[in-house]
Amino acid sequence: MSQPQDFGFGEEEAMLRDAARKFLADNLPTDALHKLVADESDPHRSRDAKWQPELWQQMVELGWTMLAVPESAGGLGMNAVAVAALCEEAGRAAFPSPLLPTVNATYLLAACGSVAANASLEAIVGGASATLAITNTAGSWEEADCDVQFADGKLTGSAGFVQDAQKADYLLVKADNGNGLGLYWLARDASGVNVAADAIVDLTRDQARVVFDGAEATEVSSDAVSALGQAMPAIWTMVAADMVGAGEWELQTTAEYARTRKQFDREIGFFQAVKHPLVDGMVEIDQSRSLVYNAACAIDHEPGRATRYAHMAKSSASDMASFVSGRAVQFHGGIGFTWECYVHLYFKRQNHNAVLWGDGAWHRARLAADLMDAA
């Protein structure tokens, strides 16, 4: 099974992407975003999620939150490259929403292939948002590292680094059921669920520790390991897509500043010390972007290579995000170091994403095991 040369990105996908770009530019331009999430500069600021639920609701009505849901479950069943394009636009707008976690939950549920999972997917079609609780409080989602137990229909234990937990309606939880790891679905506000918001750097996200104290949940898979094996490539690819969009915003915004800001009677973009690193950033962005589309395309057309290509995409995007974000602050000079300059919103989101679900080196280590040890 080989990939279509055009990544499967046809007219329908292009229309969706363009619509999403316009929707976000119209409804949440960067100045509005800054007002929304950065009104409070105090490092001891509140941990409440800052977002616009009504904007999310409009996206639900546009059907964008069920792109990835299979048609069998009433979703649009669009290909992964279309979903990646949407995530890329969300990144470009540094959009605060449960989009990524809901997309992640969607791919994981679709990988469960159970009746119960199908019901959960229908909830997403119905407009519900969801997020994953598959990481322990030490930040690991490896098989061995699970601190949640499932017994007698109830969840006990704790999970960490749950993305956008305050924004999500449902939780998809990895838990040890005694015979192995399963996946469980429950409402975030179900009784026995305690969501303790983290104080985090990123202003466009919320994150939490979730403690389960005998919370009733539905088993959607009795084999979390194989479901995760299937879904992780999509999870890695979509966060990489978000980084690519955000990186492009940083590149264009910094280039614009370099075209206009004058020092020594010249626009600073004249100086190769500014120009050349911006070009290096562009080269990294284009590499990451191409790798994201390739990984997304593989999810639909070359599943046997999806994991490999997703490692490449996330590794490339993580390193790009760190480099481009650093240069964006540096080249904005003194102003770039202040709260009032919009750049820090992206800097923080990018550094959050860079270490989420494995940083560049972690993915390269996995890729090496795939390419070098399987011989």
């Binding site: 055009d6 070009v279 284009d286 890729l367």
Partner: protein
């Protein structure tokens, strides 16, 4: 059927099918001739003839110069060269030897030469019968092309050429050279004119071709000395003083930014057994690591080496996927953005890979091509040194970054 194919015009669709059928029959078989990694590295007559034969066959079949008018030896088709290229690449054919002719000389001659010259020069260029080279660089003018000093003095309807060109690849096989000359010393840009000049037929009669010795000890490119070479005015391209504009046509096509698509066959080179097909051979670094020991253990077990190899594997895949993306308009905002990155990306990946390879080899990287114990026949220390040819020639990496910053990001010129 790919998106691209779906977009084929009837003519393109029909031609695509024709190419496929012809290539199924005629794609040249594997050869015992050890092919170089790029046309610019053709050194032996054997290599040259094998590749010339292939170009001639492809030309006779109509796969070369398809979009040029019939009158100048072209195929008279509309936007079909890229179809032929895609099919030839799909068929993994060898590349064409007349790479400077097809990529730079042909479009320049076509847009700027006199009609009779087009008809006289282009067919043999397309067929590969006559190899072309390029005379731009000089000892005093590398990155700064407009500072060329090789002078052409007009004598009636003749021009007398004196001067010194360097880094002229393929000059040792070339029949013709496209050359940028100074015809007026008082103006930098307006003082330039552009000619086609004979090389082989003028050897010993005003033209001397000397191999330049690379830091590797190999001869690769040449210097060409002009001593009162007499050229007919009819070989001038465009008006006197318009050389810079003509050169821009050449450079635009060199960078893949020209109007005419360059005929390009696949890039088949010798491949190791069982080695996954790759652009630069990043996976061959894995092989190298497996066969190298870093004080006591296999280099393939060293996580730091593994990390570095994977970086290059990822860059190589990124290079391949960027090339793929350029063909999908909906996923490329600025059509020139990725093509203009091509040379920079390619040359720096090659350099970093070769350097990594020498690190993997460790002390054995000290061994050179004559040493029977040299890993991979000293391919990597050699490749590392040669990689600087690619980061320096045809616009240094520094100049490439200027071009990208200025043309794509709209930053002010650095000069």
């Amino acid at each position: 059927m790919s998106e691209n194919e779906r977009k084929d015009t009837p003519e393109q669709a029909e031609f695509r099918e024709y190419c496929r059928d012809w290539l199924a029959e005629n794609a040249p078989p594997e050869t015992s001739v050890r092919l170089p990694l790029s046309p610019l590295e053709i050194m032996t007559e054997d290599q040259l003839h094998y590749l010339q034969d292939w170009q001639r066959k492809a030309y006779d079949a109509g796969l070369v110069g398809c979009d040029y008018p019939v009158e100048v030896g072209g195929g008279g088709r509309n936007d079909c060269q890229r179809i032929a290229n895609a099919e030839m690449q799909g068929a993994k054919t060898p590349f064409f030897p007349n790479v400077i002719g097809l990529g730079m000389a042909a479009p320049t001659v076509f847009y700027h030469a006199q009609e009779d010259k087009k008809a006289a020069l282009l067919p043999k260029l397309f067929s590969g019968e006559e190899i072309w080279c390029q005379g731009f660089s000089e000892p005093g003018s590398g990155s700064d092309l407009a500072s060329v000093q090789t002078f052409a003095e007009q004598k009636g309807d003749k021009w007398i050429i004196n001067g010194h060109k360097v880094w002229t690849s393929l000059a040792h096989f070339a029949e013709w050279m496209i050359i940028l000359l100074r015809t007026d010393k008082s103006h930098k840009y307006e003082g330039l004119s552009y000619f086609v000049v004979p090389i082989r037929s003028a050897l010993g009669k005003g033209v001397t071709v000397r191999p330049l010795i690379k830091m590797t000890g190999e001869t690769g490119f040449n210097e060409v000395i002009f001593d009162n070479l007499e050229v007919d005015d009819s070989y001038r391209l465009d008006a006197v003083g318009k050389g810079w504009q003509v050169a821009m046509t050449t450079l635009a096509h060199e960078r893949g930014a020209g109007q005419l698509v360059t005929p390009q066959a696949g890039g088949r080179v010798q491949q190791r057994e069982g080695e996954e097909e790759t652009v630069f051979g990043a996976m061959s670094l894995v092989e190298l690591a497996r066969s190298s020991r870093r004080n006591g253990a296999s280099a393939a077990e060293d996580p730091v080496i593994r990390d570095r190899i994977m970086r290059e594997v990822i860059r190589e895949e990124g290079f391949r996927q960027c090339r793929r993306r350029t063909r999908v308009q909906a996923l490329t905002d600025d059509p020139m953005r990725i093509p203009l990155q091509h040379k920079l990306r390619q040359s720096e990946i090659m350099q970093d890979m070769a350097q990594l390879a020498t690190d993997i080899e460790g002390p054995a990287a000290s061994l050179y091509i004559d040493d029977d114990n040299a890993p991979a026949n000293a391919r990597w220390p050699l490749a590392y040194m040669n990689s600087f040819g690619f980061t320096i020639a045809a616009g240094t990496s520094e100049v490439q970054r200027n071009i990208l910053g200025e043309r794509v990001l709209g930053l002010p010129k650095s000069k």
